[in-house]
């Protein structure tokens, strides 16, 4: 019976090995692999670049492995007018600089993610205050959309009570 890798082992193994390890869901580590990983000081010296590469790798991985799902879903949006409307909706998630959620996500990284309590309301309020001009914001405050957004982000940020079921 093989031992499952400990978190220490996974963290020390390095990005390329670790992601394969996780994908194999419990395969054992070899001593040589662990020794090699611990010896790889160069990774830590270039830590930021290493993390940045991993982020890009993961995004590319997701894009690559969801290609047909995306094509299938988007093929159901037909007609130039509908495609235009969908693109407008999608545009809200387009750019950290320009999207309506820009400030929200900026703040997520800066401070919000570490605050477990009251996160939904805070994000909801931020969303309203940054996405709309003052007149519209007042209208939205009376609406529940900020609460919906806050609730959604809360679930992503601090986790759901119910564990996600396997697809």
């Amino acid at each position: 019976m093989s031992d499952r890798p400990g978190i220490v082992d996974i963290l020390r193994k390095g990005w390329n090995d670790a992601k394969d390890e996780v994908k194999q869901a419990g395969a054992s580590l070899t001593k040589q692999a662990l020794d090699n990983a611990i010896a790889s000081d160069v990774v830590q010296e270039q830590g930021a670049r290493y993390v940045q590469t991993a982020i890009v790798d993961t995004v590319n991985d997701v894009k690559e492995h969801t290609g047909s799902l995306v094509a299938e879903a988007k093929s159901k949006i037909v007609g130039p007018e509908n495609i235009k409307i969908y693109d407008q909706i999608r545009e809200n998630l387009r750019s950290p600089k320009d999207g309506v959620f820009a400030s929200v996500f900026k703040n997520i990284a800066a401070r919000v993610m570490s605050a477990a309590a009251g996160i939904g309301g805070w994000i909801g309020a931020t969303f309203v205050n940054t996405a709309f001009n003052p007149d519209e914001a007042e209208k939205v405050q009376a609406n529940d959309v900020s609460q919906i957004f806050g609730s959604f982000m809360s679930k992503i940020l601090v986790g759901r009570k119910k564990a996600p079921a396997a697809a």
Binding site: I7, D41, Q52, A54, V59, H65, N92, I156, L157, P164
Partner: protein, 130 residues
């Protein structure tokens, strides 16, 4: 997991001069994966209902539709996968003297290998036909 990602991004576990770049890349990647989540979550029936509702030009209702469309298991599977990989990479890329602290943070949040394996398994199941 995002809470932990936030703690790491606020920390000094990487060189401070590089943290802003990592933070920006993290947000950029977060957006990109969220857009994929939207693309695979869009439902033609609900979309048609929204278009025909008369609110398609209302920014608030558009935002509501976006959020409600994203609120599903596929989104959580993709976001968890993204966050898991970020945590693993951060743990390895961090300064050597910080590794123990990061391990403690992860352990305190029950982010153990079995949990990561479940995230990975959910992702594989979602994308297995691609």
């Amino acid at each position: 997991m995002t809470k932990i990602a936030g703690q790491l991004l606020k920390s000094n576990y990487l060189e401070k001069s590089e943290m802003e770049k990592v933070e920006n890349d993290f947000i950029d990647g977060f957006y990109k994966v969220l857009r994929v989540a939207l693309d695979i979550s869009i439902n033609d029936t609900k979309f048609t209902e929204f278009v025909n509702s008369g609110y398609k030009d209302d920014a608030v209702e558009k935002a509501r539709f976006l959020i409600e469309t994203l609120d599903n298991e596929k989104t959580y599977t993709l976001m968890n996968y993204y966050l898991m990989n970020f945590l693993l990479a951060f743990g390895k890329g961090a300064k050597k003297e910080s590794i123990d602290q990061i391990q403690t943070i992860l352990a305190n949040e029950n982010l153990v290998p079995q949990g990561f394996a479940t995230v990975s398994e959910n992702y594989k199941n979602l994308t297995k036909n691609n």
